[in-house]
């Protein structure tokens, strides 16, 4: 195998900022072709930003992200909130939009595509829902519809942003089975997740993110308590950046020290303290 084909996605010092606030800093590394990776980290650690950068939905400097699959072979599933659930479209048409890569705006829908839609709906357990409007579905059913659409996209690189959020266990089992099937089919999958147990059970690779890479590799080596603590500490540190520790004057007015109401309390150096604990 040629060396470049080994890596599906290569990140080279990827840095993304929203209005001068860094969301991702100096991310470098590669996702191997056919790998199944969970991206974990505290809120605001840049997980969604990473996925959007790989999907080229965010502008990045040339060379920071290189994907070896052509654009039409990348599938990206955003969080459910980014979808207009009131739109008058039925389940079959919503799934059929997964063929957008082949049909584009004008080419006809072939009977083969319709057969694939039926098969996909069967795979996610939604037979008989073809003519239901999307607005009448529950969150779990809607996520199944979107997974059916992913099946139709037939992508080499699949990016999932919190796909199991607010899903019941039955839905999670069905959808995880699809993820495992894609993994067997040698597709590369990168998934943002919050459930540590799920990550440990089903995802061989993990990227622990806190605006920068905390750890990246086999899940059992990444999801260790020291690593997770370090990620949490870094998250607290940047929350302090956003709301800096109260200045001495402010502390004098609103003393923070428990019970000590007379005189100014000593300013607590929260950032460095946390980082020190993290470093140990």
């Amino acid at each position: 195998m040629v060396n470049s084909a080994c890596y599906m996605v290569t990140l080279n010092n990827l840095t993304v900022s929203y209005r001068q606030h860094p969301a991702l800093r100096h991310i470098s590394g590669s996702f191997v072709s056919g790998s199944l990776t969970a991206v974990v980290g505290p809120n605001g650690s840049g997980k969604s930003t990473l996925l959007k950068s790989i999907a080229a939905l965010l502008p990045t400097a040339p060379g920071q992200v290189s994907v070896s699959a052509p654009r039409a072979r990348i599938a990206y599933l955003p969080q459910l909130v980014e979808l207009d659930r009131g739109f008058p479209i039925d389940v079959r048409d919503a799934v059929l939009l997964g063929c957008w890569g082949a049909t584009q705006a004008w080419r006809a829908v072939t009977p083969v595509m319709l057969t694939r839609v039926d098969a996909a709906l069967h795979a996610v357990g939604l037979e008989g829902f073809e003519r239901r409007p999307v607005g009448a579905l529950s969150s779990g059913q809607l996520q199944r519809v979107l997974f059916a659409r992913l099946l139709l996209q037939d992508a080499d690189l699949i990016l999932l942003d919190e796909p199991f959020n607010a899903m019941d266990s039955k839905t999670v089992v069905t959808l995880l089975a699809l993820v495992r099937m894609w993994h067997k089919q040698q597709r590369t999958i990168i998934t943002v997740l919050h459930d540590d147990t799920q990550v440990r059970q089903h995802f061989p690779q993990t990227l622990l993110l806190a605006r920068e890479v905390v750890a990246w590799g086999p899940t059992e080596q990444v999801m260790t308590e020291p690593n997770l603590r370090r990620a949490r500490a870094m998250a607290e540190a940047w929350e302090d950046e956003a709301h800096p520790p109260a200045c001495p004057l402010r502390v004098a007015t609103f003393p923070v020290a428990g019970g000590k109401t007379s005189g100014p309390a000593a300013p607590v150096p929260r950032c460095s303290g946390v980082l020190e604990t993290a470093a140990q």
Binding site: L57, L83, P88, L97
Partner: protein, 296 residues
């Protein structure tokens, strides 16, 4: 026999006897066919007030056309078209390069455009001209005006058909569309193309209904149509039918009661809206009557 005769007098004879009524009828029906479906898509894209904003934005262009060419349809339509496109493009640029969302930038720009338009017209025309441009005169549509409306309606129906799939995907799941876009096919092309369709329909409608009322035939039937159906094609069709019905009824009423045609047509659309609010499946009465089924 006499009932038939009365019906003929009420409904058919105004159109049979007067050419201006026939032209007004054809113009309104053509507009219903093209503008109402655009209105449905506008509401679905959460841009209900965008049509309103664009219709105001057309005004200074119409005014400048009026100043240069008098009450000439070509001059005013060209002016309105240029102004509408300019405002749409300007709003899109503001959205792309600043923190403002499109509706906010559109609101700012159209208010400026409206002020400019009213100033220009009241400086350089009579009160009557201003009224004519703001509220239109369906009964004064001439052959050239009819040609304009017919061409715009045909072009925009064809264009809408061509853009249909992209617009549906762009409204339903914009993130998917931008993720799946191809090199050299930016996804804002759908949005801008769609806004251009809205502008040309508003320009076509301004002579018949006036710049302020043109948007009524676009939005009112669209909003009521959404109460009736769950699927987009049905909503589009329903909106067109409602617009056409209000057009015919409005023209007849304005003929018999000697009211201005534009507001009368919109009034009829408004009546249909309230009717839909009451009895349509998504409306008030079914909600009350079948509430038990929904809960269970």
């Amino acid at each position: 026999m006499s009932v038939l005769h009365m019906l003929w007098n009420l409904v058919a004879s105004p159109f049979a006897e007067f050419a201006f009524m026939r032209r007004a009828l054809v113009a309104t029906l053509a507009l219903s066919l093209s503008a109402a479906p655009l209105g449905v898509l506008l509401t679905l894209r959460r841009m209900s007030l965008m049509g309103d904003a664009l219709s105001h934005a057309v005004l200074p262009g119409v005014a400048i056309g009026f100043m240069l060419g008098g009450l000439s349809l070509t001059a005013m339509a060209t002016g309105g078209l240029i102004a509408g496109m300019l405002v749409a493009a300007l709003a899109a640029l503001v959205t792309r390069f600043t923190a403002l969302k499109e509706d906010a930038s559109m609101a700012a720009i159209y208010l400026i455009a409206l002020a400019l338009g009213v100033t220009l017209i009241s400086r350089h025309g009579t009160q009557l001209d201003l009224l004519h441009i703001l509220f239109g005169s369906a009964l004064g549509v001439d052959a050239a005006g009819l040609m304009l409306v017919a061409s715009v309606a045909s072009a925009s129906v064809v264009a809408l058909a061509a853009m249909y799939r992209g617009l549906v995907l762009g409204s339903f799941d914009p993130a998917f569309l931008s993720a799946a876009r191809r090199r050299g096919w930016p996804d804002w092309i759908w949005q801008q193309g769609f806004l251009i369709l809205v502008v040309i329909n508003l320009v076509a409608g301004f002579q018949t209904l006036g710049t302020l009322m043109a948007v009524g035939l676009m939005m009112l039937p669209a909003v009521s149509a959404r109460l009736w159906h769950d699927t987009l094609p049905a909503q589009l069709l329903n909106a067109s039918v409602q617009a056409a019905a209000s057009g015919v009824a409005g023209l007849l009423l304005s003929y018999h009661f000697d009211t201005p045609s534009g507001p009368t047509i919109i009034g009829c659309a408004g009546f249909l809206y309230f009717f839909s609010l009451l009895v349509a499946p998504g409306g008030w009465l079914p909600c009350i009557l079948f509430a038990r089924h929904r809960v269970a």
